[in-house]
């Protein structure tokens, strides 16, 4: 449960009133859980299409990018943000510096870098390019070339 504690400690500051639950818990106990100010913690193997009809109840969604080579979080972010128009926060946790540009453009609205990146200039990695070659969930600040 260390992962959840970490998220809570980070998020408590801004999201004190959010009730964070694991994706599986939400799916299994949907009827019993409070629908007020819920945040859902999604893992890479969770099927986000299972919550697409319940997004109105959800205040924020936490996606886990810990595994550097596991790209499922980018598709999860795209589907939630672009296809199902989730309007709450999509928070990427355990984020890697070198993948910020991909996370942000896929629809992640805020992120928490892994501790090992403390002290580096995030801007260099979040905004390293001036143009983009494809439509994405978020192309702000980029000249479109497509």
């Amino acid at each position: 449960m260390s992962e959840i504690l970490q998220i809570e400690s980070i998020l408590n500051k801004d999201y004190e009133s959010v009730n964070l639950v694991l994706f599986q818990e939400w799916i299994e106990s949907f009827d019993k859980l409070s629908k007020l100010a819920v945040g859902i913690i999604v893992g890479p193997s969770d099927d986000v299409s299972l919550i697409k009809d319940e997004l109105d109840f959800i205040k924020l969604i936490v996606l886990d990018f810990n595994n550097f080579d596991d790209g499922r979080g980018y598709s999860q972010a795209y589907l939630l943000s672009k296809r199902w128009q989730f309007t709450g926060e999509i928070i990427g946790i355990n984020a890697h510096l070198d993948q910020l540009q991909f996370m942000i453009r896929s629809g992640v609205t805020s992120y928490v870098l892994l501790d090992s990146y403390v002290g580096v200039n995030e801007e260099d990695y979040a905004n390293g390019f001036s143009i983009c070659y494809q439509e994405a969930a978020n192309n702000s600040g980029l000249q479109k070339k497509y």
Partner: protein
């Protein structure tokens, strides 16, 4: 000829700057090996047996003379004076020093060349028929489509961290020079009954230990809808592809496990959500501009009084290396880089500069690279072919091997690659030494031999007439033989002949196979046709008797 815009060139520089920062962090110990590996591969950089290897893209296999000179300069400045043209329209440099990589990439970017996504688990360099735009009966030149699709998946935010590598080939010609059905995704340009242009889509092909032929997932996708269809295909793969087993990462395993019908259904279900999104439509205005940029730089000419030179050596070379062109008065010239004892596809910086100069003089400053690791001059006037041949002859580049057994495709093998189980180049050399008589080679005709040093199958041995796969048995090098693979007319994975053969005996085995073919051949029958008619038994019987 198409050239990158200033924005494209700037993007290449931005990418180099980013990679340079990552490299500095790695060298300072702030970026660990595993993550740096993932990042460097997406910039084409491998750690090989002896040094770093850089793979530079030659998108759709098209190069200008200026670009080839730039590659020659890189070979001299950063390597040991040579480069290696690969089977997927890339060029590799084998002796790169890590601290010099950013400067090297900057030099390349000056000429619109780069190494972006030439490796790693992302969309790789998109390959096209090296004869795109040159042959009769073609639906369309595939290169403008390659370029638009290449751009779209360039640092794509959603699909840059796929389960495995993702190779795309696009063919617009009658014959399939791209081998598209052994790719993760192959696109064939087609016209439907209403004469609309679109693509047939094939997904899940690949070689390696489990060779598979891609299944058709859509028989017709309109040109403007292709990006959304490709995105849906990659989304299904990204979310459902195997990530738990190193040997099952490629999309072919997902297609096999789900079944092609179910895979296609999932793609279609996703696609219905996006196919009408105007932001995902292929930009048809840009496409028209690209068609102009890629238009052939030649016009039909009448060479009424032209008489071909009579010269025995020239005739042999011409028979094997020169093809007819759809534009009147022109020929397509294929140049073999094969040299005894050297890796197929290797070219020295001097050869690159000579080829660049000759292309400038005889081929509108354009060259193409092929999956048989040869160089094509696409626009040679028929009345200048002889002059070109004389120049090639002078520089030792007039090998008449194209289309003969001596034009062997081989990976670097155990001499250079730390994945390889056995040597490849010395086997190629021994085959060439065994069949060193041009009369015999001409008699055998168009028969291809491909040699891979391990199951990664970099030399595409599964799709050769005779394929050799290197392996280890009790500490010794052995070769498994496959026969009658092909992709040009139809896609067929070669059949295993039987137990693997030792390195010592493998050349004898090849000779026996060739002799069985010659003995059973009727007229000019191709190897694959003979194989279909007589089956594997006669080959097996002779090789293992």
């Amino acid at each position: 000829m198409y050239q990158y815009s200033p924005e494209d060139s700037n993007f290449l520089v931005e990418r180099v700057n980013q990679f340079e920062k990552q490299l500095k962090r790695h060298l300072a110990g702030d970026l660990d090996d595993a993550k740096f590996r993932s990042l460097r591969l997406r910039n084409g950089l491998y750690m090989e047996l002896h040094a770093h290897m850089l793979r530079v893209a030659i998108p759709y296999g098209t190069l200008s003379s200026t670009q080839l000179r730039s590659l020659a300069d890189v070979a001299d400045k950063y390597d040991r004076g040579f480069g290696h043209f690969t089977t997927r329209q890339n060029i590799q440099f084998n002796w790169i020093e890590l601290p010099e990589i950013a400067n090297l990439l900057r030099d390349l970017s000056d000429e619109g060349l780069h190494a972006i996504q030439t490796s790693g688990k992302a969309t790789r360099n998109i390959t096209a028929d090296p004869l795109s735009g040159l042959t009769d009966g073609e639906i369309e030149d595939a290169r403008p489509y390659c370029e638009l699709i290449r751009r779209w998946f360039n640092l794509h935010p959603e699909f840059s961290w796929l389960p495995g590598k993702f190779k795309i080939a696009i063919n617009g010609a009658k014959l399939d020079e791209t081998a598209l059905r052994i790719h993760d995704l192959g696109l064939r340009l087609v016209r439907n009954s209403e004469d609309q242009l679109g693509f047939s889509v094939f997904v899940g092909g690949g070689l390696g230990a489990a060779a598979m032929i891609a299944a058709e997932t859509a028989s017709f996708v309109k040109v403007e809808d292709i990006l959304s269809y490709l995105e849906s295909t990659m989304r299904v793969y990204n979310l459902k592809g195997r990530r738990d087993h190193q040997k099952k990462l490629r999309i072919k395993f997902l297609v096999r496990e789900l079944g092609a019908d179910e895979f296609s259904r999932l793609v279609d279900e996703d696609w219905q959500q996006t196919k009408n999104d105007p932001n995902l439509k292929l930009n048809l205005v840009e496409l028209e501009q690209l068609k102009k940029d890629f238009a052939l730089p030649i016009k039909s000419i009448n060479l009424g009084g032209f008489e071909e030179k009579v010269d025995f050596n020239y005739s042999i070379w011409k028979k094997n290396n020169v093809r007819s062109h759809k534009i009147n008065g022109f020929s397509i010239v294929n140049i073999s880089l094969t040299k005894l004892g050297a890796a197929p596809g290797d070219a020295t910086s001097e050869q690159m500069r000579i080829l660049a100069d000759l292309a400038e003089k005889y081929s509108a400053s354009e060259l193409r690279t092929t999956k048989r690791q040869t160089i094509v001059f696409p626009y040679v006037r028929k009345d200048q072919v002889y002059d070109l041949w004389q120049s090639l002859e002078k520089y030792g580049l007039a090998s008449p091997h194209q289309g003969t057994l001596a034009q062997i495709v081989a990976c670097p093998g155990r001499d250079y690659c730390d994945l390889a189980k056995a040597v490849s180049i010395p086997i190629a050399t021994r085959v060439q030494e065994r069949f060193n008589d041009m009369k015999t080679l001409l008699d055998i005709g168009d028969l291809n031999i491909n040699i891979s040093g391990c199951e990664n199958s970099c030399a595409h041995h599964h799709i050769a007439d005779i394929g050799l796969l290197g392996m280890q048995k009790n500490g010794e090098e052995y070769y498994q033989i496959t026969l009658a693979g092909e992709t040009l007319h139809e896609t067929v994975i070669g059949k295993k002949l039987g137990p693997s053969v030792s390195g010592e005996n493998i050349i004898d085995a090849v000779e026996i196979i060739v002799n069985v073919y010659l003995k059973n051949r009727i007229d000019q029958e191709r190897f694959t046709d003979v194989f279909k008619r007589i089956g594997i038994a006669p080959f097996k019987e002779k090789v293992y008797e």
